[in-house]
Structures are given as C-alpha cells and as structure tokens.
Assembly symmetry: C2
Homo-oligomer: 280 residues x 2
C-alpha cells in the first residue's frame, strides 16, 4: 500500500469487521476492549453462513461483496474476523482494496509460535481453514522446525450456536476431536475458528493443563492496535454519543443476531440492520 | 394454472428438483424408484446451505433464483425437495411460475393425518419449518381434531452431514429432541426435513414401536406420479442412453456433493456441475 493512499484515511473513520455470522463478534469484543476509542462497522453474513464447509472461490466471492459494502462507510481498515475467509480470501482482498486489511490467521500463528516450547502446535478449525494449510504456511515461513497438526472440527459451530457451551455432548465431541492432537503431544493449541473461544473452558479442560490455548481474536486486536499506531491512524478521542460508535449489519435474521450478540458483548447492542449483500 | 399452459408442456421434459443441499436427494431417490421413466434436473444450493436457520424472505429469494435456473431446462414440473423452502416459499413460487410445482409438506401432512389413530402427530424439522407452522396449517385444514406438536431439531443436519448416522451422540441428541413428543403420547412422527430419513433407524428406535414414522420424501414421489398421470404428463418411454437422464447442479463444491450423493443414490452419479446461482 502506498503512503499517499493511507494519508487520505481519517483517524476518526470506523474500522470494518466482518465474519460469516456471529463468530467474529469475539474479535469485535477484543477490539472494543483493547482499543475502546475506535468505531466499528460489523457485518455478519447470516444469509449464507457457514463459510467453513464451502470452497475458496465461493468464500472469496462472498468476502469481496462484503468488502465492497464496508467500503461504503469509508472505513480506515478492515478486519477479516473469520478464519475461513482469512485463509481463503485475504490475498485476493489485499489485492482488491487500497486500505490496510488484516486477518486473524497471522496474529494467531505468531502467538502460537511464541508460545510453543516443544515445537508441536495443534490447530482446530473448520474444514476449509484446515484444508487451506494457511496456518502451517505462516508458521513455516517464520520457523521451519515447528510442526503443525491440523484437525477440522465441523460440529463445534452448530453445538456452540445451539448454546451447548457446557454440555456432555460437547465434551464427548471435543474428546473425539482433540484425542489425536493430545496423543502426539502438542503443547499449544490454536482456536482457529472465531466461535471456539466461546467453549474455551471445555477445550482447556479436555486438552489439559500442559497445553496453552491461543485465541487469535485476542492477538488480532493487539496487532490491529499496533498497526493503527504505526500508521498514525488510532482515533485520538472517545466517540461521543450519537456518533454510531458500534454499528451492526447482517444479511439475514437481524433479531436473532442481536440476541446472540448481546450474550457475547456486554455493550448493549440495541439493533442490527439487514442488507441484501448480493447487491454489492 | 390454466389448461392451455399445461398443454404446452412435453411429456419427455425433465422434472426439476431442488433443495438447499444434499437432503433433497432422498426425494430424488424416491422419484427415481417410483417413476423410473422420468428425467431429473437436480439443483442443490451448497453455497448457501443450510436454509433451516434463515428467514422467509431470504429462503424465498434463494428459491426464486433456483426456479429461474431450473426453468432454463424447460422442466415440466418442479419439486421443492426441501421442507424449509416448501414451508416458506411455495406460495410465492406458485405465483411466480406457470408450470405445476409441488412441495414436500402437503404430501407428508396428508400421510400423517391418515396414519394417526389418537390424533396426536409430532413433527420434527428445522427451526424455520417449525416456526412457519405450515404442517399444522395443512393438517388443520383437513381435520381440526388432530393436534400437531412441532419440535425444531437444529443439530440433526450437522450430525447427519458428519456421517454420525449410527452414533451414541446422535442417540443422545435424538433422545433430548424426542422426549417431549413421546411424553405427550404422539402416535405419528413426520420426518419434516429431507435429511432425517437418513437416520430413520435411530429415530424409530428412540421413538418406539408405537410411533409410525412418516417420510414426506416417499409421499411426495407418490403425489408427483399421480399429478403427472392426471395431467397426462408421465413420460411414456424410458430415456435412452446419452439423454441426460439425471443431471446434477450445485452452487458450490461439486465433488463433495457427488461423494455424498453416491452414498445415498445407487445409480452411479458421475458428476455435478457448479453454477453461480446468484446470477439468476
């Protein structure tokens, strides 16, 4: 990105954040905590959720539509708050737009690489994220001596969306998914889907004390803050009342989204608006 | 529909069948068994699956795009092989097009009404199908003395798509979903989602011998055959080789679709083509 272009961005512009649905709210929550002065425009693609079982071409096409939508808000940066979209579409999105854009994979990969002592890192994620091999690619670029073990966990998202965060069924499924990673002695586990921090306590209990859990949502907010600081784009002042501090858009079922969002984020999300994202 | 319009339809034209993904293959399979002379063009909306958690407006918009796509094959009739789309979109689709169209709800509702002896019918289905109240509406139109008990079962589709057709986890979830229906003494249970016949043996075991399971896929194929016979639209001759007897289209992941399809239908589905359904 050229210096000229970023100079045109306004400090008080919002940050665009998107996900296939509600999962990216765990990333938005971290941004709200860590950079409270920032405005956020969040988009959740609830009409076409989930992304994790779909192809690179489809996820990229959907992501490009969403980026065009977020662009209409003159956002100063975009956070791809979805592991699948980060794995499949980030390269193309960086090519498409002239504002800074960050995904959740690189910050998660970096934190895992710093955490591991025995060089064995597990990644649990959607079928798409695991199939992309992108966590592996990022980590190998930094350190070829680390080994990454990926495990697709397609039932976690439906279980979490059903509210079974603490439940014997979720325990049983987590045991099935994690056993092979525990057996090969990983010491670090990346929660490679934005839903998974919501069952962090279950995952931690089953993985055991010797395994460090890495939450890319948390790491992404740190990286975002550093990037904005480097570019002199941090918002200096707390947004006032009536300044649309946090705006939420979805492609379907706004009411259901708001209910779920209010269970995750404690900032009183009052409403979300529905847009036909296929028009973008 | 006017007599004039149906007269223009050709007996040897294919039947259009669509679903949000693979579930409608249980309906296609019944049509292949019961009316083997018919050609089928099947569309599965694998880019936007599932429909069962989405709104009426979104499911209707998606269904209208698919009907426009199927129309390009000069189909003589369309089968909405998805309970959610039948519940939400059938009325609008009947209004949109001038060829006969049937859904899976009415045939399922009719069979359940004929099967019940104590007048207590359970329906298990997606959140959308249950929320629509359409099974209730159809049955009450015929017999006001029958009581319908609906239960949304959002975890069944992910469990089935994960291949856990016979599994202690599926048993446990089925027990949770069915207990309240068994407790109120239903004697008939409608499998109100096209995926559910794939776990018919689990459902039958847990519901118990006193409960009759109704499979709308089976009933729909019977109704389709009767409707085509009444309209003199049954194909007289078996389609020859190279006549595109069964064609499959999807909006994403054709290979995965073909693998799943071949596990359900034993007619050697060799390929499926991908189309961008948003263009229709």
């Amino acid at each position: 990105m050229s210096q000229t272009k970023t100079k045109l961005l306004r400090k008080d512009a919002p940050i665009g954040v998107f996900d296939s649905g509600v999962g990216g709210l765990t990333v938005a929550r971290e941004i709200m905590r860590q950079i409270p002065n920032e405005k956020i425009v969040y988009f959740g693609d609830t009409a076409r959720v989930p992304y994790g079982s779909k192809s690179k071409e489809t996820v990229t096409r959907f992501s490009e539509q969403i980026v065009r939508f977020l662009h209409t808000f003159q956002v100063k940066t975009i956070v791809v708050a979805c592991n699948t979209a980060s794995a499949y579409a980030l390269d193309q999105l960086e090519h498409d737009i002239d504002i800074p854009i960050i995904g959740v994979l690189k910050p998660g990969a970096k934190a895992a690489m710093e955490a591991t002592e025995n060089g064995r890192i597990g990644v649990i994620a959607t079928e798409a994220t695991i199939g992309s091999g992108m966590y592996n690619k990022y980590i190998k670029e930094w350190n070829r001596d680390v080994t990454i073990y990926g495990k697709a966990c397609p039932l976690f998202v439906p279980l979490i969306e059903e509210g079974l965060w603490e439940d014997p069924v979720t325990d049983e499924i987590a045991r099935r998914y994690l056993t092979e990673l525990i057996d090969i002695d990983i010491d670090t586990l990346i929660l490679g889907c934005t839903h998974y921090p919501l069952i962090r306590s279950t995952l931690g209990r089953i993985a055991g004390d010797q395994v460090t859990l890495v939450n890319p949502a948390y790491e992404t907010a740190i990286e975002l803050r550093e990037m904005l600081a480097d570019m002199d784009l941090l918002n200096d002042e707390e947004p006032g009342l009536g300044s649309n501090r946090y705006q939420f858009y979805v492609s379907d079922k706004a009411e259901k989204f708001v209910r779920f969002a209010n269970s995750i984020i404690k900032y009183g999300i009052l409403s979300a608006k529905t847009v036909n994202i296929e028009d973008y």
